[in-house]
């Protein structure tokens, strides 16, 4: 694999891409020079998809054209996200699949699933990397919250595929952070990773073993909450602001997407300020012209968010119990922007009995870890590190009476497998249905339905005679693979998987094809947009040149010719033929060369000569 493998942190709030340059991880910036790409996707009226900072303005000006925090919707059904969607402005499109079907969101004029939306973010990161390397990139390691279930992991792999990336490994975020830390410190012992991101919370307990120059990361236990994060803190502040406004100023803006998004930006800024200042101010001008203003002190803020932060305590205690530690951990690593909040650091100290380690950048540490894993997989660099991760949730099958029989236990080191035996009840039966679930509860209805497997083409025999061994394998990505064999005949049973909350293979294939067209389309669109911009710039320059005294000195025939070329370019601008547009731009350039020479203004001269048009003020 001569091509580089990139590591991607696909975050709720921000995404990043990094790679290993030898032994050193490097975070790859975007075109704007920034490492963080906000996980915001917008569809402009012109039909272009924009990602990251450029998308932010759409979120505030035309929220129906933008989607953020799509990670919170990955791998979940319409019924699952019903409550959560209330707090977002997104509109879910009702589907024939009904409540159990995959979520579909309206983005401007288009309807997209969460994996497709995530794919746009991934594609942007892919482009950033390709621009940086000057070479194509086709393989990646992508991180997910450790507590993500099978459907959520599958959705992430699907997003990667739609974006044109082969996902070599899905890595748990706390483990990635551990890799980054281990690269940095290379110290033996146990440590905890407390990862409070925009939408998810994870805690992992790991052991770092160092022997014969090799570092081995052995995850002991992991736990978390996939709907708990900085977004919830934002929403608390937002609700207060909106309540204030409704009470004091008599106006209800809860349903106004533009006000909500504008206020949200304010609230986030205040939240960040409160990490270093003892108070912050919210200020916002409402559509009716009235001004909303409120002071928030750090004390008030801490009291407000206390119940939310307390939700991180039970998972931490559970992980410590499962890890069977004797004594405190040696180190605590913090991950995620929300861990900059002083109260969070305090809570972490109380929970683990250690001052958290603050040496690593909590925003970049996961991407760095992903890059380290990418390095391990590409066979270059970090061959002296190995990761032994675990599955966060128990895997079970539904048995008689709706009870779950647990076959692989939570916190089992992966890859992990278990074999169960099934048989038929009816003479000549050729199909057996199996329902697979994830979770810790006793009854199937309380666990997470993963998929229903149909074992087919079982050789017909008397009832109870077939002995079908079904092997459940959770691979290194934490994703389930199933195979079956009828032991008497040695025949493999064909398996059809119906994922409960995901896209099936056909749907993903179609999306990849669509996105291929879209990639071509996107590229073409970009050319058209760029050509139009260029055309507008030169037309503006010519307009200005008309008012210059030099214009009056050129021959009327030449003036007429310039006007003619202008008109031709203008008429071409509405078309999608960027090639032709460029030809007309060149023609106008040539036609005004003489005029430019006559003019004293050097900037205008540069513009009309077609050099560095962008630099024209």
């Amino acid at each position: 694999m001569a091509e580089r493998v990139i590591g991607i942190d696909l975050g709720t709030t921000n995404s990043l891409v990094a790679y290993m340059e030898g032994q050193t991880p490097v975070v790859i910036p975007g075109e704007d020079g920034l490492n963080l790409v906000p996980s915001i996707v917008a569809l402009t009226p012109a039909g272009d998809v924009v990602v990251g900072n450029p998308a932010r303005k759409w979120l505030i000006e035309a929220p129906e054209r933008a989607i953020y925090s799509v990670k919170r919707l990955m791998g979940r059904s319409q019924a699952d996200v019903r409550d959560e969607i209330e707090r977002f402005h997104f509109r879910v499109v009702e589907e024939s699949g009904g409540e159990a079907g995959i979520v579909r969101l309206r983005l401007g004029e288009r309807i997209l699933t969460p994996p497709e939306i995530s794919a746009y973010i991934l594609r942007q990161l892919k482009r950033n990397a390709e621009r940086y390397f000057g070479a194509p990139v086709r393989h990646a390691v992508i991180t997910v919250p450790a507590y993500f279930n099978d459907a959520q992991r599958q959705a992430t792999v699907d997003a990667g595929r739609i974006a044109g990336l082969e996902v070599l490994r899905i890595v748990n975020e706390p483990t990635a952070a551990a890799l980054a830390y281990g690269l940095d410190k290379k110290r033996q012992g146990t440590f905890a990773v407390y990862d409070l991101g925009g939408g998810t919370f994870d805690v992992s307990i790991l052991r770092l073993e160092d022997s014969e120059g090799e570092s081995l990361f052995h995850v002991q236990a992991t736990n978390g909450d996939t709907h708990l994060g900085g977004d919830d803190i934002d929403n608390l502040l937002l609700t207060i602001a909106l309540d204030d406004i409704r009470g004091d100023l008599g106006a209800d803006y809860f349903r106004s997407a533009t006000v909500v998004q504008g206020l949200r930006a304010q609230v986030i800024a205040a939240k960040i300020a409160l990490s270093t200042a003892s108070s912050a101010r919210l200020e916002f001008v409402l559509p009716n012209g009235k001004k909303y203003r409120r002071e928030i002190t750090r004390t008030q803020f801490e009291e407000l968010i206390s119940p939310t932060l307390d939700r991180t305590v039970p998972p931490c205690r559970a992980a410590l119990a499962d890890a069977k530690l004797t004594g405190t951990v040696d180190e605590v690593v913090l991950v995620g922007g929300s861990t900059r909040i002083p109260r969070v650091q305090q809570l972490v100290q109380e929970l683990f009995g250690r001052q958290p380690h603050c040496g690593l950048n909590p925003d970049e540490v996961v991407a760095v870890g992903a890059a380290v894993q990418a390095g391990i997989l590409s066979g270059g660099g970090s061959q002296d590190m190995l990761l032994l991760d675990v599955t966060p949730l128990s895997l079970g099958i539904e048995t008689m009476g709706g009870v779950v029989a647990r076959i692989i236990h939570r916190n089992s080191t992966i890859p992990a497998s278990a074999t169960e035996h099934f048989t038929t009840w009816v003479e000549g039966q050729t199909n057996v249905a199996i329902h697979v679930l994830q979770g810790e509860r006793e009854l199937a209805k309380d666990c997470r339905s993963l998929a229903r497997f149909d074992l087919r083409e079982i050789p017909p025999m008397a009832a109870g005679l077939p002995r079908i061994a079904v092997k459940f394998l959770i691979d290194a990505n934490g994703i389930l693979n199933v195979s079956a064999i009828e032991e008497r005949t040695g025949q493999a049973a064909a398996i059809q998987v119906k994922p409960t909350y995901g896209l099936n293979d056909d749907q993903v294939e179609q999306m990849i094809l669509d996105s291929f067209d879209n990639a071509e389309e996107d590229l073409r669109q970009r050319q058209v947009v760029e050509a139009r911009n260029e055309a507008q710039l030169i037309l503006d320059a010519v307009e200005r040149a008309r008012r210059d005294p030099a214009f009056a000195t050129i021959a009327p025939a030449e003036q007429a010719r310039i006007a003619e070329l202008e008109a031709e370019l203008r008429s071409q601008m509405a078309s999608e033929d960027y090639g032709l547009m460029r030809t007309k731009i060149e023609a106008l350039n040539d036609g005004t060369r003489h005029l430019a020479e006559l003019m004293m203004n050097s900037a205008l001269k540069a513009a009309l000569q077609g050099r560095n048009v962008q630099e024209v003020g």
């Binding site: 590409s378 080191t413 497998s417 074999t419």
Partner: protein
């Protein structure tokens, strides 16, 4: 069809995976060192650029290594596994945490269990308002905990006896049966203790 996930009809020999003789007492730190050593060699990450066939083989071997370590590292799981290997226990009776659910109350516990169940019923229906009921349950908890410790000690002793028998070249079949009954008893006691704990400290 050789691939990573083909189930095999025969039971894997976890002792063989670690090159260990079938003994019930083993050095866990040493086991872990060997586990790490083999992990470095077998882990799928090492095969990310290899041919598909090699990747699948690595996946299968690594999952087996993980399974073997998980079972052999825990003393009780180790005993259960050995009994499975020896055909003494039925594998399709599964309960929670891999602990096999014993269908019968051990005879010697019959009366105590009967009284405990009455107290539990009372506690569940009337709450723990009656201090007498609470006292009874706390006492029962202490009693059964003590019994559990006796069982664990007996398991350790019988495990050592089995190892000695193996070393002496004997089959030790009767010891396996004794281990099986002890496991049943242990499982039953643990379930009882769990039931009492749940009633005494209701879940939040």
């Amino acid at each position: 069809m050789p691939d990573a996930v083909s189930p095999t009809a025969a039971m894997a020999d976890y002792f063989a995976v670690f090159g260990l003789p079938r003994r019930l007492l083993l050095d866990v730190p040493g086991l872990e060192r060997e586990f790490y050593r083999q992990s470095r060699r077998l882990h799928p990450d090492r095969f990310a650029r290899a041919a598909r066939l090699d990747q699948d083989a690595a996946l299968r071997q690594m999952s087996q290594l993980n399974d073997a370590f998980r079972v052999l590292a825990d003393p009780i799981a180790r005993i259960v596994y050995l009994l499975d290997l020896g055909g003494v226990r039925r594998r399709d009776e599964r309960g929670d945490a891999g602990v096999e659910r014993a269908p019968q109350v051990p005879a010697e516990l019959l009366e105590e269990v009967f009284e405990l169940n009455m107290a539990l019923d009372e506690a569940r229906s009337g709450g723990l308002t009656d201090p007498g009921t609470r006292r009874q349950l706390v006492q029962a908890q202490a009693d059964f905990q003590e019994k559990l410790e006796v069982v664990d000690a007996a398991l350790l002793e019988r495990a050592a006896a089995w190892d000695r028998a193996q070393d002496a070249g004997e089959t030790g079949g009767d010891i396996l049966q004794q281990l099986s009954s002890l496991l049943d008893r242990r499982s039953y006691l643990r379930n009882l203790l769990r039931d009492v704990a749940v009633v005494l400290v209701p879940a939040p």
